[in-house]
Every structure is written in structure tokens, then in C-alpha cells.
């Protein structure tokens, strides 16, 4: 495979929910070792775009290729390459932290699952509560456990949907370390958020999504938080949440 071929490559991506348009033609490229941060107000199509990239939903039109595979056709293969952190934490509250991770490790088919699970728990700082049920966790701890689930392996593509929501400072640091490590290992990442400051800090490239279209795209050097904030205000209210 070509070294510089984009890992994520979409052309004219369109998605309709019944009679409502969510994406209206998205052209996007993300290279290996690149972090693209996607800004956009609620309902601008960020989550839909990530879901299409993960192969979870089928696009209405256009093409999306991830690591050379078409998302519509090769769903199984793509799911093996992607690590995703969604809106919901996707954890089973009746099970303990370790049980959740062990289940995830089995489903992901990672090597030496026991060691992996222990390492991930340690990185997320959850060793002490590994045997406690997720139900007893605070929302910050749940987010960290979801993060630990993501860290069970090294995906080629990382998709993060509002990762900063409900994340405490310590956990934000864990997330950023993980992102940088993955980037160094050559992973491509798409991070959707409406937190401009935090998003700007980790981005290589930035894009703004408004009403299902890309209204801005550029490298970090070419812009500033202030310029982004103005652009963002044009396309919907910016919501600065810590």
C-alpha cells in the first residue's frame, strides 16, 4: 500500500434519514499520522459522519473508503481497524470494569487479553476499582473506562465523538497521551467536538461542519482559535463547555 495514500477518503458523501438530510456531500481526506478535528454545532452531522466512517450506517450516496476498503461493502474488515469512542459509553452497568474490558477484548480478538486488560486499566487509572460494578462509577470514571476499552489495542483509525464531554482533567490527559501515541504509531484520527480550545490544541487539521456540509477546512498553522470562533459563530452558536 502507498505510504501517503489517505487512510480516510470520502467523496460526495450523502446521508438522508428518511426525508431529513444529515450529510449533503462531504469530501474529506485524512492521512496516516494525522489528527483531524471536526467542529460543528449540534445537528451539523458530526455524529452521522463518524457513524458512516465506522461502517455503522450505510451512506445514501457517495463513497467512503477507510484504509482502502469501502465502508458499505467491507464492514467486517473495517471494524477490525477502527477504534471508536461514541456518545454513550457502551458499557454494561451490571458488570465490573474488568469484566467489561475482558468481554471487549474477546470480541476484539486481541492477543494476550489478560495482560491487555490489566495494562488498559492501569493507563486509565482504574486498577483500584477494577472489581467494582460500573453502576457504582461516577460519570467521569465511566468515560475513563470507555477510554480504557479504546486502549485495548492499536487501531489504524480512531474516531472520537465528543470525547471531552464529561471527562475530568486527569482523563483528558490520558486521552491526549493516547492520541499522540497513536499518531506516532501512524494512526489517522477524526475527533468531533464543539470545544474549540481543546480541539485546536491536538489538531493537525481542522474542519467545520454546518448543516451537513464542510464550510471550512484548513491546517492548524493557517488559522487561529479566534478566527475559528468567528467562523463557527457564523454557522451556529459555539458552545464552550469545559
Amino acid at each position: 500500500m502507498l505510504e501517503h495514500a489517505p487512510v480516510i477518503d470520502t467523496r460526495g458523501l450523502v446521508k438522508w434519514y428518511g426525508t431529513n438530510p444529515a450529510l449533503r456531500g462531504i469530501d474529506l481526506c485524512v492521512a496516516a499520522g494525522e489528527i483531524l478535528v471536526l467542529f460543528g454545532p449540534n445537528g451539523s452531522g458530526k455524529t452521522t459522519l463518524l457513524k458512516v466512517l465506522s461502517g455503522r450506517i450505510r451512506p445514501t450516496g457517495g463513497t467512503a473508503r477507510v484504509a482502502g476498503h469501502d465502508v458499505g461493502a467491507d464492514g467486517d474488515r473495517i471494524r477490525g481497524l477502527i477504534g471508536i469512542l461514541g456518545h454513550g459509553h457502551q458499557l454494561y452497568e451490571a458488570l465490573s470494569a474488568r469484566e467489561n474490558l475482558t468481554f471487549a477484548a474477546t470480541m476484539l480478538g486481541v492477543d494476550r487479553p489478560r495482560d491487555r486488560v490489566s495494562t488498559a486499566l492501569a493507563r486509565a487509572g482504574l486498577e483500584a476499582v477494577a472489581q467494582s460494578r460500573v453502576r457504582t462509577f461516577s460519570s467521569g470514571m465511566k468515560r475513563r473506562l470507555a477510554l480504557a476499552k479504546l486502549m485495548l489495542r492499536e487501531p489504524k483509525v480512531i474516531l472520537l465523538d465528543e470525547p471531552y464531554a464529561g471527562l475530568d482533567l486527569e482523563a483528558t490527559k490520558v486521552l491526549e497521551e493516547y492520541l499522540l501515541a497513536s499518531k506516532a504509531a501512524g494512526a489517522a484520527a477524526v475527533l468531533a467536538t464543539h470545544n474549540l480550545t481543546k480541539g485546536f490544541a491536538v489538531a493537525d487539521r481542522l474542519a467545520i461542519l454546518g448543516h451537513g456540509r464542510l464550510v471550512f477546512e484548513g491546517r492548524r498553522e493557517e488559522t487561529s482559535v479566534e478566527a475559528l470562533r468567528e467562523l463557527f459563530a457564523l454557522h451556529g452558536e459555539a458552545q464552550e463547555t469545559a
Binding site: W16, Y17, R24, G212
Partner: protein
């Protein structure tokens, strides 16, 4: 428009066919030796049931095609055919029930054929209800395609179980609809009516699919307006 012309021709054919079927059923075929004149309900009841099986078979085939190819047309045919199938089974059960009153002395009896038709009606009423409950049209089409397929696959099993249920534990009823040996004139009447009802089904299906196409057209226009 050739579609319209085909539809009109089918409508005409079905009307003529039904008229001929009625004449043959009432004038040409002799009254039944045991049941007398009432037996003529058979020329309504049996074609309705058989054509509704055909309708559900069409649902089965088009549902498979929809899952394989995701064409709106296949879903439109499946949905329309299911609706007509439900209408026909309901009418068949009503006619059978009216036939049962003078023959068995009750409006309803757990006769094998009547029972399995009733079960079929319940399954496909569920299909239509499910269709009405799902808001996203493509999700509704997929879910209903799955239900249409398993509903049809269930038919032979239902039929077998109900027949065993009625025969393994109690003697078969002596008076069953449809005499054991059918007179040739009766067979002619039955087949003529069967053909007429099949034509009627084709006509209704054509008409109903056109409604579905108009619905798709409308949602496509709405998409254009919105985006």
C-alpha cells in the same frame, strides 16, 4: 402511459372474468348432492384463499429481492401484495364462516383450513401494523421484508401442525367444505373463478403499487425541496 393501459386492461379483464365466474358458478355448476345450493360459496371462498397464498408468496419473493438489491420497487410490491393478501384472507374467512353456519351449524369451527387461514391473517395484520409503526421508510421496508419472509416460511409448518392437531386427536369432521369427489362441472367453475380472482389480484396489485410509487415520488420531491 403504457402502465395505465395495462392497469385498465387488467381491470376490464378482471371484471369480465368475475362476471363469467359468477355465471358458471351459479348457472352451469350443479348444486352439491349433500350440501345443496350453499356449496356454491366454495367458488368464492376457495379462490380467495388460494389467491391470498399467491399474494403472500409474492411478498416472500419480493422481500428477498428487496433485501438482496434494496430497490424501492420490490418493497412497494411486497407492501401492496401483503395488504391485498390480508384483504383476501379476511374475506375468505368471512365467506367460510357464512358457509359454515348452514353446513356445520356454527359460524366458526376450528377446522384445519379455516384455522390456518386465520393464523396467516394474524401474521400479516402484524406485518401491516409493524409497517405503520416504523417511521423511517427504508428501516420499515427492511424490517417488514424480514417479517414477510419468515411469515411465509411459517405457512407450511402452520398448516401441518393444524392438520395434525385436528386429525391426531379427534376424527375428521364428516362434513368438510369441498366434497370428496368433485363433479367435473364444479371443477370448471372452481378454475374459472380462480382465474378471475387471480386477475382481480393482479389489477389491485397494479393499482396499489402505483399508490406506493406516488408516495416515493412525494418523499423524493420533499428531499429535493429540503436539500
Amino acid at each position: 402511459m403504457s402502465g395505465r393501459r395495462v392497469e385498465r386492461a387488467l381491470g376490464l379483464l378482471a371484471a369480465v372474468g368475475l362476471a363469467i365466474g359468477l355465471c358458471i358458478g351459479f348457472l352451469y355448476a350443479p348444486p352439491d348432492a349433500e350440501q345443496g345450493e350453499v356449496q356454491r360459496i366454495m367458488y368464492l371462498h376457495v379462490p380467495l384463499i388460494l389467491v391470498s397464498y399467491l399474494a403472500f408468496f409474492v411478498v416472500f419473493v419480493t422481500s428477498i429481492l428487496y433485501l438482496a438489491r434494496r430497490r424501492e420497487r420490490h418493497d412497494a410490491i411486497a407492501h401492496s401484495s401483503a395488504e391485498i393478501g390480508v384483504l383476501f384472507t379476511a374475506l375468505a374467512i368471512a365467506a367460510g364462516s357464512i358457509w359454515g353456519r348452514p353446513t356445520w351449524g356454527t359460524w366458526w369451527t376450528w377446522d384445519a383450513r379455516l384455522t390456518s387461514t386465520a393464523i396467516l391473517l394474524l401474521i400479516f395484520v402484524g406485518y401491516l401494523m409493524l409497517r405503520a409503526l416504523v417511521d423511517d421508510p427504508s428501516r420499515g421496508a427492511t424490517v417488514c421484508a424480514v417479517l414477510g419472509i419468515i411469515g411465509f416460511l411459517d405457512i407450511p409448518i402452520i398448516h401441518m401442525s393444524v392438520v395434525w392437531w385436528r386429525t391426531l386427536h379427534q376424527p375428521a369432521s364428516i362434513l368438510r367444505p369441498g366434497p370428496p369427489t368433485v363433479a367435473p362441472q364444479m371443477q370448471v367453475a372452481l378454475y374459472a373463478n380462480l382465474a378471475a380472482f387471480a386477475l382481480l389480484y393482479a389489477y389491485l396489485l397494479f393499482k396499489r403499487v402505483r399508490l406506493e410509487q406516488a408516495r416515493w415520488e412525494l418523499s423524493r420531491l420533499r428531499m429535493e425541496v429540503a436539500g
